[in-house]
Subunit: 257 residues, 2 copies
């Protein structure tokens, strides 16, 4: 038995998120189908991160085990032939069997895109949250408050029931993209609560559009109360850009390169 | 009777091109439907440029006539409420009735995107032609040969039957985008033959991927023979970015601004 670790990119628009569901098209089921077409006896997939419906990914990772003696490159090329256009294997490497990316994730980086354009733009429709006329400078101040180790209890969905809500954000940056109508919020941290990035960005944006008073992020961290935090920013503006893994001993060379 | 001039953006992926068809979803029919929802007696649409199935637009223009006394801004906001997410009115202004953008177009600018990534990327799948490992410098030389006034008979579809095939290209530029995996070919000119940009870019790319010898564009211009030119580059890499119009006397102020 051997393990295969995959790096994945997908356009989340037509997927009902990562996690397998009996009645809807999901990334996990679609990828699993492609794996089973090559090895009907492959293990189930172990993903690093569950993404919501509509969320995109450039650097999702997932692993599975197989008895077949196919190199990582062969899996990547083979799977890409079986996968639809909105999902691709971007990288692969051999790992020991039963390797669980979820527990090996050292940090994750997300990007949230906001479109400042006063007019609808079909090009960005499924990839950015359109909020014209917001105060971008106000977001920068909110971002600073989120940086570091805090109790993020106010920034999680009521569906999240994990015991500890303390997390560390190592990067919360607001910046303009090459297209000046776009701003990106980059959020990087060791681990995240359910909907944490979307509620954090939504709260920052609520300050920027004057629905919440400046200092909202700091106040919510202190109060620990979800009802004080802002809107959950819509899924389609979010991209899971990268996951940093602590690789196990015995991991193979990466493909490509 | 008054005329309304619209500037349009659309994601061409789910449209069978601009021109109305009885059996397929087209941009012209979709826009016409939205206009008729506001004014059932509005005139047919007069577009500036027919785009093929899969081709995108940021600056398509079209005009129609109406008896309704609605300002340009009102038309833009009203139509955007009736239009689906993959098409938007980006600008509007009043023009005299019967104004025909097609005959008022002074120049058009297109952008063709090529993705150099060796691995499939779902994000760019419907927006760039993926050609890894091509010789970008070779494209720059081909681009220079296309610049200026030439007989472009070799660079038109056999379905084009216009008498004159002499056109002037004022800009043919190959450049890297902010994402270094992407190159853009910008093509600007006074008028274009059917499929001219796609055949020109396809020929440039055929040199860059060593399917044609360097100097192919210059040789094709001289020979005037479509069979010597290269591949027709796929539609989904092409964006109609801008159309410069000679505005008629009596045109109103533009919306927005």
């Amino acid at each position: 038995m051997r393990g295969v670790l995959l790096e994945l990119a997908y356009d989340g628009t037509a997927f009902h998120g990562w996690a397998a569901q009996s009645s809807a098209r999901t990334v996990q089921d679609t990828l699993r189908g492609a794996i089973l077409a090559i090895d009907p006896r492959a293990s189930p997939l172990r993903g690093a991160s569950r993404t919501d419906a509509g969320v995109h990914a450039e650097g999702q990772v997932a692993a599975f085990d197989t008895e077949l003696d196919i190199p990582a490159r062969g899996w990547a090329l083979g799977l890409n032939k079986h996968l639809p256009d909105d999902i691709a294997v971007r990288g692969a490497r051999a790992v020991p069997p039963a390797f669980a990316p979820r527990f090996a994730a050292r940090s994750k980086r997300y990007r949230y895109r906001v479109l400042l354009d006063p007019v609808r733009d079909p090009y960005w429709h499924a990839r950015a949250w359109r909020l014209p006329g917001i105060d971008v400078a106000a977001m920068v101040l909110e971002a600073e408050a989120a940086l570091g180790t805090h109790d993020f209890a106010a920034f999680r969905s009521s569906r999240d029931e994990r015991a500890s809500t303390v997390r560390t954000l190592t990067r919360v940056e607001v910046g303009r993209e090459a297209d000046p109508r776009l701003i990106s919020v980059i959020v990087e941290g060791n681990a995240f609560l359910y909907n944490m990035v979307r509620i954090l960005v939504g709260t920052m944006c609520d300050v920027a559009r004057r629905r919440l008073h400046p200092g909202a992020v700091a106040r919510c961290i202190q109060a620990g109360d979800r009802r004080q935090a802002g809107t959950t920013a819509p899924a389609h503006g979010l991209v899971l850009e990268q996951i940093d893994l602590v690789l196990p001993e015995g991991a193979g060379h990466p493909w490509p390169r």
